[in-house]
């Protein structure tokens, strides 16, 4: 039986959002030769061109409200497309957390949310997603009638572009006149991201502190260690929220992205929001007392230890070894 998969493409400005590639790869792995990508609103040609090798069909959807970037119009459009195409799967990039749950509630379904991977087997696909802030992985399956809704974590990927496809996608225009033109919520002003610390972005060595550093005093010790290593000091979101480090020192999806040759993570659990900003570091050394900490999934060196015990000793040893 041939399955149909609906993929809601995410785009920003003039480009296809990278997470759409991950979502497209996952959609293709679901086994359907028919992956229909939906582009909502007036996307530039570059978006369609980037999408064409990734899917089998594209629907360029316009209608009242979509050009305003309205969530309500997007939700109505998805609802309508599910009605028309009767897909087995609806795959949505996991960026805004807005669309998928609203559509799912209309169809009286839960979303298999933030999937990192899919395994296909005789019983159908099983989705892998992080739970308990990444400390455990859950294998989740859909139950009952389609459509099944899945959102995809940025970086999930898992299949090469175009793999399993016949060729270039067939493109169709689709006008949905029934979409609501009025929107309840309205965007007042977009704010450009504040300039982030460039010394951090270009650093060769980064010492990053997470919740496990426990106190301002702990952060100061980490600062001393950074000094000894000739490193920039940075932190995860909870540390910056606490005010232990300024906001421009935050690494992760809502902060700075770095790729130093050495990343030393002190008490950083390794939630996806953090690792998105540092996973391309050349060497990752992580110290955490929790052996389940998800940071260990990407670390080259996993140090299971209590920072309170080893940090002062580490500093002492490096001080004795002399300056960098």
């Amino acid at each position: 039986m041939s399955a149909t998969t609906l993929l809601i493409a995410e785009w920003r400005g003039s480009e296809l959002h990278p997470v759409t590639r991950d979502a497209a790869a996952l959609a293709r792995r679901l086994g359907g030769e028919r992956v229909v990508a939906v582009v909502l609103g007036p996307a530039p040609a570059a978006v369609t061109a980037a999408l064409a090798p990734l899917v089998s069909e594209i629907r360029l959807v316009d209608g009242p409200g979509l050009s305003l970037g309205s969530g309500e119009a997007a939700c109505h459009a998805c609802d309508e497309l599910i009605r028309r195409l009767r897909p087995d799967w609806v795959v949505i990039p996991g960026t805004g957390y807005d669309l998928a749950p609203r559509v799912a509630a209309r169809w009286r379904r839960s979303v298999i949310a933030n999937c990192a991977a899919v395994e296909t087997g005789v019983d159908g696909p099983t989705f892998i997603r992080s739970v308990y802030q990444g400390r455990l992985l859950a294998r989740v399956r859909p139950v009952g009638e389609p459509p099944h809704l899945v959102t995809v974590e940025p970086g999930a990927g898992g299949a090469a572009d175009g793999e399993g496809l016949a060729g270039q996608a067939v493109i169709e225009q689709l006008h949905l006149a029934s979409l609501p033109a009025e929107t309840a919520t309205s965007l007042e002003e977009p704010v450009t991201p504040h300039a982030r610390s460039s010394s951090l972005r270009d650093a060769g060595v980064v010492v990053a502190v997470g919740r496990g550093i426990r106190s301002q005093e702990g952060v100061e010790l980490a600062g001393r260690l950074a000094q000894l290593l000739g490193a920039e000091l940075a932190g995860s979101r909870p540390v910056c929220d606490e005010g232990w480090l300024p906001a421009d020192r935050q690494i992760g999806s809502s902060g700075v992205t770095v790729a130093p040759h050495l990343y030393l993570a002190l008490g950083v659990s390794g939630a996806i929001q953090h690792t998105m900003g540092m996973h391309q570091s050349r060497r990752i050394v992580a110290i955490n007392r929790d052996p389940n900490a998800p940071i260990f999934r990407i670390a080259d060196i996993a140090v299971i230890a209590d920072l309170g015990e080893i940090l002062p000793e580490l500093i002492r040893s490096l001080e004795q070894a002399g300056p960098a």
Partner: protein, 256 residues
Amino acid sequence: MKIAVCIKQVLDRDAPLLIDAAARRVRESDLPRAMSEADRSALELGLSLKEATNGELLVVSLGEAGAVQVIRDALARGADRGILLQHEGDALEPLHVAVALARGLGDEACRCVLTGVQSDDGGHAQTGVMLAELLGLAHTTMVVEAAHGELDGLRARRELEGGALQWWHVPMPCLLTVQAGAYRLRHASIKGVMGAKKKPVATVPVEEAMFTELPRTIETVALTTPPAREGAERIDGASADVVSRLVAVLTEYRSA
């Protein structure tokens, strides 16, 4: 104005994660619990909106009998009353949680409903938005700041990936999902703790019968510990050994 905050009791972040023999559930009994982090943030926003509008703040939690603790905790910090939607046994899927919450809040006619963006345990990041759909409310997600605005609405700031920010006007009645860490939850005063004991908490059982028309749509078939990276070096043991190995590693990598 009347505000509701949905809060969830979860396993404390520092508690060990013990997976049961069937690899389906994490053991929670006898282990420390806490209010899910993003819900703490939502609760503080709720308290500040209550103060700004001289309103009423209702807290709702779906969970086992022991979840009344997070409700009492919220009452001690300034909420006015609580509803415990009591459900024993395996965790419900997100749609069922949203349906139960919608029933619990259906007659309350709240102007504003707040939830965390996602929970510390299941992390499905969808219950709040589903609740908005079921109650017919406008919604905005990933809110880091909000205040009463013009035209009987809220002005809400969203933080998106890459540090991009947006200000939205959200007409009431509405639902906002609030980011962890956006608001730091105030402490309870002694007076608050004493006063909380007199505040009303209604317990409403959540029966399976509520979901007979709503068959299950997802199931967790296994929980596992993430594998360490292949080829990674693991260092543990006595502090002195750990430190000497670390010094060697850091000295080598720093210059590499």
